[in-house]
């Protein structure tokens, strides 16, 4: 299992030691300094090994929070975060966070306790088939059967999680393995993975297609971020002058306001981006996967365009849309060597610019109430380049994507693939731990915040200076919007008007909090929010009937966008 890239760490003084101690030493040897976890019966030997080990442990208040927080480390740094949980319910509570990491290709190492091998398969207390339950949502997984395997398994887990198309790796540790005595030493470094061969001929054909194209567009996705290729892509866009649009996960690859950026495409995308994609004759797809929320009706998506597709995962190429040229590759080095020379596309550039000017975002909602898009725009602009907005899921998530200013891709963390409510608070917590100098803001709706509100206790316990904003429309807003538009206004189980007073709830957790509900309170509220030195909670009351515009109805083409009435 080991390779020459691995080397034993300096021999610990404690040899021989237990499997549990070896787990901790192996994590430290991989450069891990913080783990997010929750103890329980089958992982107790590992917890016994934590005090005095030098490994910092953050006790979240629910295992789902541990998984989201650990994945946030991966989202921010590209290095796998680590979560720890016990067997049975501890492991099943991790599942949503692991699935979220899988869907968004985020590196994560999840370590779960398991009942001892002698009782595995007997329906022992808190025994569940964690390996089987998580199989469809991990990049890889292990049940460790020998304590001597721990160093190689942990090293390999990190390598797999972080390399290629990143993803979560599960390590299931039976209790007897944790308690076993071993002389194995932790391994530093990582196992080596075979690099992917680049098809040079495909690159030349891609360059030829770009040279022939009259209306080319870059289609930029989250794979760029996971590959650490943001700057390379920025250089390529600027060198070619080809207009570009982003997916939800690709926001920030080009900074907001970049002259070549048309905005986000898709269901709640910018009209300019959605119009341009329908007219393009070539899409240069980089690290994107033709997600249905991005493409709308697939048969009608970019009907005039050929496809050049760069992706680390060969199985994404031609999965949903045939690629005229597909390049399975490590995106960063390949794009560094990729030098397309488009023909004169000034007419196309002018057309794209015209669309951008014709369809700007609107902030002219009538009334006295707070208009969330305007608030979010002001928040991100006041926070500046250090802003990291962590969305939950729902209407506010789309408003953040549409209206916030992002200086880099890590400035926008969102549950894009899984769309998991409850994502924001623990993810923001993990992001703040990973990057303490960033202005990290958790932004949730009143539905989502209730799904992991217990993590306010974690903020208070560790005094993590996180900013928590709840945009409260007393509804499950996105579901309400769809019921209004597509279910004849039959509002079914979306009323949350019996929500608690969120500011009082936050204060009960020891977090200073305040509420605003009028438009003229926004600027002062944001100012107070951003200037707070410790954790702070801002409760924003908005109009329950507000909708997210524009909108491509499900099953429709991106060219058929529904828009707000003139009077909103």
């Amino acid at each position: 299992m080991t390779s020459p890239a691995l080397s034993p760490a300096s021999s610990p003084e404690t040899l021989p030691h237990t499997g549990a101690q070896l787990v901790i030493e192996s994590l430290l040897a991989q450069g891990v300094d913080t783990v997010f976890g929750y103890p329980g019966g089958a992982i107790m030997p590992v917890y016994d090994a934590i005090p005095g080990s030098g490994l910092k442990h953050i006790l979240c208040r629910h295992e789902q929070g541990c998984a989201f927080a650990a994945a946030a480390v991966g989202r921010m740094t590209g290095k796998a975060g680590v979560c720890l949980a016990t067997s049975g319910p501890g492991a099943t509570n991790l599942v949503t966070g692991i699935a979220d990491a899988f869907m968004d290709s985020v590196p994560l190492v999840a370590i779960t306790g398991q009942v001892g091998q002698p009782v595995m398969g007997t329906d022992a207390f808190q025994e569940i088939d964690t390996f089987g339950i998580t199989m469809p949502i991990v990049k890889h997984s292990y049940i460790v059967r020998h304590a001597d395997d721990i160093p190689a398994v942990i090293a390999e887990a990190f390598q797999i999680a972080e390399s290629g198309r990143p993803g979560p790796v599960l390590v299931d540790l039976p209790k007897d393995i944790q308690q076993a005595v071993t002389s194995a030493a932790p391994l530093e470094g990582s196992t080596s993975m075979t690099p992917i061969d680049v098809d040079e001929d495909a690159l030349r054909r891609a360059e030829a297609l770009i040279q022939q194209a009259e209306r080319p567009l870059f289609y930029l996705g989250g794979g760029i971020v996971r590959s650490g290729a943001t700057q390379v892509v920025r250089d390529l866009v600027e060198q070619t002058g080809i207009p570009a649009f982003c997916t939800l996960q690709g926001l920030g690859v080009l900074p907001t306001g970049h002259p070549s950026l048309l905005g986000m495409l898709g269901m709640h995308g910018c009209k300019a981006a959605n119009l341009a994609v329908q007219e393009a004759d070539l899409l240069i797809v980089v690290g994107a996967r033709f997600d249905d929320r991005a493409t709308g009706k697939l048969d009608a998506f970019a009907p005039k365009a050929g496809i050049v597709h760069f992706d680390r995962d060969a199985s994404e190429i031609s999965k949903l849309r045939h690629a005229n040229v597909g390049v399975a590759c490590e995106i960063k080095p390949v794009l560094e060597a990729f030098r397309p020379e488009p023909q004169d596309i000034s007419a196309w550039q002018a057309q794209c610019e015209e669309w951008k000017e014709a369809y700007p975002a609107r902030y002219d909602a009538p009334g006295e109430g707070i208009f969330a898009p305007a608030l979010l725009k002001e928040l991100s602009e006041q926070a500046g380049d250090s802003f990291v907005g962590v969305a939950d899921v729902g209407q506010h998530q789309m408003w953040i994507a549409q209206h916030c200013r992002f200086s880099r891709p890590q400035a926008h963390l969102t549950s894009g693939g899984l769309g998991s409510m409850g994502f924001s608070l623990p993810t923001a917590l993990g992001a703040k731990v990973a990057e303490p100098d960033a202005t990290v803001v958790s932004i949730s709706g009143d539905g989502g915040v209730m799904m992991n509100i217990q993590e306010l206790a974690t903020l208070n316990r560790y005094k993590i200076p996180l900013k928590v904003m709840v945009i409260n429309n007393s509804r499950l807003g996105m579901v309400r919007q769809w019921q209004e538009l597509f279910f004849d206004g039959n509002f079914s189980e979306v009323d949350l008007s019996d929500n608690p007073d969120f500011a009082k709830v936050a204060e009960a957790f020891g977090i200073p909090a305040f509420t605003i509900s009028k438009r003229d309170e926004v600027s002062a509220g944001i100012d107070r929010f951003l200037k707070a030195e410790g954790p702070i909670f801002m409760h924003v009351v908005i109009d329950p009937s507000e909708n997210v515009w524009p909108l491509v109805a499900p099953g429709k083409s991106n060219s058929e966008m529904m828009e707000a009435d003139d009077d909103y």
Binding site: F131, S315, S318, K319
Partner: protein, 96 residues
């Protein structure tokens, strides 16, 4: 009914066969028959699959199987047969 046949060479590691089965089912196909042969340093699996619906790319499934960590190589043996082979068919609900 379209039937595709893969030959999959993989490491003989705990869970690999289950992982292969999971991917096939997860990606919109079902396993019609399965034959596993142990070789010196791993195993070779021959599996016949059929799609749920008609819009599934067998090449995409091949690549999705090939990206599994302990899978070394996946070969599409023959395309679009109309009848299953004479291998013993494993009931759909069977667990490996």
């Amino acid at each position: 009914m379209t039937i595709e046949t893969f030959t999959i060479e993989c490491d003989n590691v705990n869970g690999t066969l289950r992982r292969i089965w999971t991917i096939i089912e997860q990606r919109g196909w079902y396993v019609r028959s399965l034959l596993v042969e142990e070789i010196e340093d791993g195993s070779i699996t021959r599996v016949q699959v059929s799609p749920h619906g008609n819009n599934r790319s067998v090449e995409t499934l091949r690549l999705q199987l090939e990206r599994l960590i302990n899978v070394r190589h996946v070969k599409l043996e023959r395309r679009s047969r109309q009848k299953p082979s004479q291998w013993k068919e494993i009931p759909h609900a069977a667990v490996i």
